[in-house]
Amino acid sequence: MSTLITPRAESVWHHLNPLGFARGLWGHRNLILQFTVREVQGRYKASSLGLFWSFLHPLLLLLIYTFVFGVVFQARWPHLRRTGDLAEFALVLFCGLIPFNLLAECVSRATSLVVTVPNYVRKVPFPLEVLPVSAVGSASFHAAMSLGVLVVMRLVTQGAIAPTLVLFPLVVMPLLFLCLGLTWFIASLVVFIRDLGYVVPLALQVLLFATPIFYPLDAVPERFQPLLRGNPLALIVEDFRRVVFWDLPPDWGRLAGCALVGATVMLLGYAWFMKTKRGFADVL
């Protein structure tokens, strides 16, 4: 376990190496697991309703969205089996919200991940890259719970479970890559540019409407379609809905493209974080 501490930082290429990346994170798997578990527990440890909030939070939001878009705006979803069925509309919305909430939670947590633990930066030799991983891990846990709720609700209202649900892990992969990469990137950037903490919530609001959650992608006018298709989250949400709700397999070509983009973002985000890590202690 010999260590050599030098002023020369490792080059960026060193961090971009996928094997090094996998090895590094695997080495910290114990810490990642502990932190993820604690984060999930910790969120509701102090509250009396506890883990129940995990269910309640998305459900409440869903109710509001359904009311506003379904009842007030009377929006229509072209592909619905039974047009005008509010319950089905709600489920479709819920389905799109799950991946979005996962990303939104990760990204907004990223703005406080490193800056709220100056102790871990300055006083303890801590592998800070572990923090975004556990943030994504705990967000995934809540997303999984929401998914469970969705499946049960569909079972109750429509009496069916999508057989394509088994393909779900494949669809969620690109999303996880994307979340990890963005979290690493933003968590690091916020340390140096604190204002980012204000930009992110705004960007998320924009993303909420720029992603086809409250409407299908096809409903978007032709000239805007390429713009929306450029949003990887849009494609992920579409595939998500296909697999979980429409009982269809995902668009494999599109999925592969998303996976590639996601993996690239992940590696780049990781490399950025590792390279800038050295500067944290000087700032915080």
Binding site: I5, T6, Q34, V124, F192, A281
Partner: protein, 474 residues
């Protein structure tokens, strides 16, 4: 040779791994500079665009040119004023800060205790934090489980171990943090002033454990503001001042130099000695019983830590008959003679001797202020002061070292010495020459001895008596 029984006595143990053991820590020209920027954005600009030659901000060197090697079983202290770079050095060794220059080689596991509960999450219980800190140091759940009972026993916080850490007092914090840091069997242990918070019993417990770890082969680096603790625990020390290494070597000497450095900063020029001062006392020096020149110790290899106002010209240790000796029997008087040449006009001089045992514990130190010896109130440059100090050695048979120190105090403060609080009085004293570890002597049992051979336990044989009577039953 008189035998030295070991009943009820803990002898200083030799380290299991010799001091010339394997390398635990090696530093070469380590330095740390902080770039200070006028705006936070400049920092990011520097990081990305700095390679093109542009630069923003200016450098502040917190640490410069530190090089040393530490072997297994060795302990080194780092002392210096606030802002001298002590914590920076430990942070670099712990792997938290990247050095700007130089390199550090650590072949083993490092455990660092740098700030009170720094690795602790306030919302979680002590138990959970133990596992968390273990994970941070690279130890898995099962490994920490094995050590958990021992950690809880040392920390001694009872049922609070299952309470959130935010409820802990600072003493409980440090007990738990120390217990965790010292139970992971690290090869190098770094401790930064974390022990200052505990009470005296806790500190004793900690030092005992540190000693055990050191004997087991761990290398320990200690930063403390309590220089006496550094002097007692560490054999070597590093003295830092504004980021530079002022001295590196024996802990005793480093501590003396620290006082000197600290003193330099608040020194006030003493007024010139009033001519025609108490002259009769000058001649008394010649009437003081003084040993033969051959009785004096060889001072050529002895370090003298001095600010230039005086120079020690002779030290001798004699028995009651005035013969040079380094072996005494318990209870006999030891007479210390020391002579100092004054190189600059001073007012009232102070001379004293400090005796330390083989473990570095200060057994007895007393100076002319404390004896209330009559002293001249002004000494001119070029004069020689002679001191004869007699100490009755009612101490345990052991090997002892002693140091000689000369200081001075202004006439005004000397006249008011009875009124001053202890700390305030010593703030007015100026140390002018100290010889750390100038000599050694041995104390043996006084045989034949009445009523029994071993007349007391522990370091000091204090005067007293014990009476026994039979009380009527019922």
């Amino acid at each position: 040779m008189a035998s030295e029984p070991m009943i009820g006595v803990s002898r200083p143990t030799e380290p299991a791994v010799p001091a010339h053991g394997a390398l635990a820590l090696a530093l070469r020209d380590v330095g740390k500079a902080y770039r200070i920027y006028d705006q936070p954005q400049d920092r990011l600009k520097q990081m990305i665009l700095g390679r093109f030659g542009w630069s923003w901000g200016r450098d502040f060197w917190a640490l410069r040119g530190v090089s040393f090697e530490l072997r297994r079983g060795e302990s080194m202290g780092i002392i210096g004023r606030n802002g001298s770079g002590k914590s920076t050095l430990l942070q670099i060794l712990a792997g938290i800060l990247a050095p700007t220059t130089g390199e550090v080689r650590v072949p083993g596991r490092v455990a660092a205790l740098l700030e009170l509960g720094s690795g602790f999450n306030p919302e979680f219980t002590g138990r959970e934090n133990v596992f968390l800190n273990g994970a941070i140091m690279g130890l898995g759940y099962t490994e920490m489980k094995r050590r958990f009972d021992e950690i809880a026993a040392f920390a001694d916080i009872g049922e609070f171990i299952d309470q959130p850490v935010k409820l802990y007092s600072s003493g409980m914090f440090v007990r738990l943090a120390f217990a965790v840091a010292t139970s992971v069997q690290a090869d190098v242990l770094l401790i930064d002033e974390a022990l200052a918070v505990g009470d005296v019993f806790f500190r004793q417990k900690c030092y005992r454990r540190l000693e055990a770890l050191r004997d087991g082969g761990a290398a320990i680096m200690l930063v403390s503001h309590s220089v006496s603790e550094i002097e007692e625990f560490c054999r070597r020390a590093l003295l830092l001042h504004h980021g530079d290494v002022v001295f590196q070597g024996s802990a005793a000497e480093a501590v003396k130099r620290y006082y000197l450095v600290e003193q330099q900063e608040r020194l006030v020029e003493p007024p010139p000695a009033v001519p025609g001062g108490p002259a009769p006392q000058e001649n008394e020096g010649n009437r003081l019983e003084w040993p033969e020149p051959s009785a004096f110790l060889d001072l050529t290899g002895v370090a003298q830590v001095s600010n230039g106002w005086a120079r020690c010209t002779g030290v001798a240790l004699c028995d009651a008959h005035g013969r040079a000796s380094h072996v005494f029997r318990q209870g006999e008087p030891a007479i210390f003679f020391y002579e100092v040449e004054i190189l600059r006009d001073i007012e009232a001089p102070i001379g004293g001797v400090v005796i330390q045992n083989s473990r570095g514990v200060i057994v007895h130190g007393k100076n002319t202020l404390q004896y209330d010896s009559p002293v001249p109130l002004a000494v001119r440059r070029g004069a020689r002061l002679r001191f004869r100090q007699e100490v009755t050695l009612d101490i345990f048979p052991d090997e002892y070292t002693f140091e000689v120190g000369i200081a001075t105090i202004s006439r005004h403060d000397y006249d008011l010495r009875a009124v001053y609080a202890h700390d305030d009085l010593y703030a007015t004293v100026t140390r002018i020459c100290v010889l750390p570890a100038v000599g050694r002597f041995r104390v043996l049992l006084n045989v034949p001895s009445r009523p029994i051979q071993l007349r007391h336990h522990g370091v000091a044989d204090l005067a007293g008596r014990c009476q026994v009577a039979v009380a009527n039953a019922g």
